[in-house]
Symmetry: C2
Subunit: 303 residues, 2 copies
């Protein structure tokens, strides 16, 4: 099957300076490493990227810094969702201007128990206000964090109303059956599981790719599974992905990934996160780096 | 008992123009009417105000518009919480500059299952960054919407660390026992129930006042209860408050209040809400306005 968007799009971790300021240089350097490791593109400004701890202006700067550093717009899939429509419009428009492959759109997530009709209007108004350069939308479903989510009937309705704009979904429900339902209920759309735990099974069902937090540290292997999922060795690759995920998941995911990045890049500054997230405590950092699956990740790769 | 902040502070509904643009003029006019109706001050930019559907700049404009229209800073209690620390800092600083009575601070609400330590650091950094003019903080507890909340031990710790800054809490848990625990566990702090349903009981326990959505349409009666809660007629006033609340709660609260405001001000434009909220359907508007408790609200008041 051919998809409008496919492959590996890591949700890029965002680097901060010691004083908490956004560090676009180190962030972009990490992005380039991910592309070198086999990522098809970069899902910058997602949940893993701590995008919701960035101001609107900082989020714009993350997009711009990638372009200025020579990353092609078509390699970018920025998160542009916000509770306030006009914030989402501003960021989505910027993504369109730089020629992004698409944007990852959270539903407006402050008000709860809102109707599908209300979310539909939010998206319809977004598309209208962004105007001619509206990029393709990947709807970002992450109920464990955003609580508000996208129902299948809502996505089907959006697709019918905006067939040129709705490109697909990232499903971070963490629920195999939910992802399966999206794949089966939205034929032709690009459905990206938000984790690699069941990636092989979901690729067989018709998933288009993967946008997973652990791709920040395990991009090569996830890419390998995406390239070889129809081959016999795929089961073994899937098993390695699961082991890495299980090791990292013993800790709080976002700061834990940064501990591994700090080790990989020999740059302790990578450990910084913004409140309300907390760095991994010193003792746990050692445990994490001593996890067999993590140690293997950090072994030098033959060139 | 004497509190740093007490009385009736309605969470002011925000008016929009037909095209969805913020209408500060009509919003401020409503604020002035609430003060005339007996409000001690104005909890602008809360959940009922749809503050999280406003951009940061719009929220700043709501504060400034009140000042420019002659409302004293000490009559304002703006909501200044945000997922991104620097957004909360910017708005809290503005509130401090205009001499606000305090600010209502949501915890950072995007990331879930965060630690009390992480939220503590968020607040500590906020206070430090806002600097000398930091206004008093009212911690805003509204788990049904924000999901992330303030635990009693966290508030106690914040109070110990920042005794000059932590003024109190608004508790919109909607759970009598939770409010009671906050009152009992935080003696001397200004605890405001986020609804008037159990206001009389909570005033007897030591609540300092009330910040309730329905104060947008029922300010006089809530004020009356606050003034007379130690008198025999208080039970009857409490019953009226309950009836109004029960009538409005049959509908979606935020748009339902605007239907009543539209009727009161003879200004259909008041009905507008921002997506993802939806206006009350036409048929339901009629039902709402026909509710006996609501009809009584709309009767002309003897001057």
């Amino acid at each position: 099957m051919s998809f409008a968007l496919s492959g590996l799009w890591p949700p890029v971790s965002t680097a901060f300076r010691a004083d908490g300021a956004l560090d676009t240089e180190r962030t972009v350097a990490h992005s380039k490493r991910l592309l070198a490791d086999g990522a098809h593109g970069l899902a910058i400004l997602g949940t893993t990227s701590e995008a919701n701890s960035l101001t609107l202006d900082e989020r714009r700067r993350v997009i711009d810094a990638h372009i200025e550093a020579g990353v092609e717009g078509k390699r970018l899939l920025p998160g542009t969702g916000a509770s306030a429509l006009d914030d989402a419009v501003a960021l989505t428009r910027r993504a369109g201007e730089v020629g992004a492959a698409g944007v990852l759109l959270l539903p407006p997530f402050y008000y709860k128990k809102v109707s599908d009709e209300g979310i539909f209007r939010f998206v319809a108004q977004l598309i209208e206000r962004v105007g001619a350069k509206v990029p393709k939308l990947m709807l970002y479903h992450i109920p464990p964090v955003a609580v508000v989510g996208w129902s299948l009937p809502l996505v089907q309705r959006l697709r019918e109303a905006f067939p040129e704009v709705i490109m697909g979904m990232k499903d971070s429900s963490g629920d195999f059956e939910v992802t399966k339902n999206f794949i089966e209920g939205l034929p032709g759309l690009s459905i990206f599981p938000g984790a690699e735990v069941n990636l092989l099974r979901l690729l067989k069902l018709g998933a288009a790719g993967c946008i997973s937090a652990t791709a920040n540290v395990n991009a090569r292997a996830i890419r390998q599974l995406l390239d070889t999922w129809q081959k016999p060795e795929a089961e073994q690759t899937q098993e390695q992905l699961r082991e890495v995920r299980a090791a990292v998941e013993k800790y709080v995911m976002i700061p834990a990934l940064k501990v591994i990045l700090a080790e990989r890049y020999r740059d302790a500054g990578w450990k910084g996160v913004r409140a309300p997230l907390m760095p991994v405590p010193e003792a746990q950092q050692k445990e994490l780096l001593a996890e067999p699956a993590v140690k293997k990740l950090l072994e030098p790769v033959a060139a």
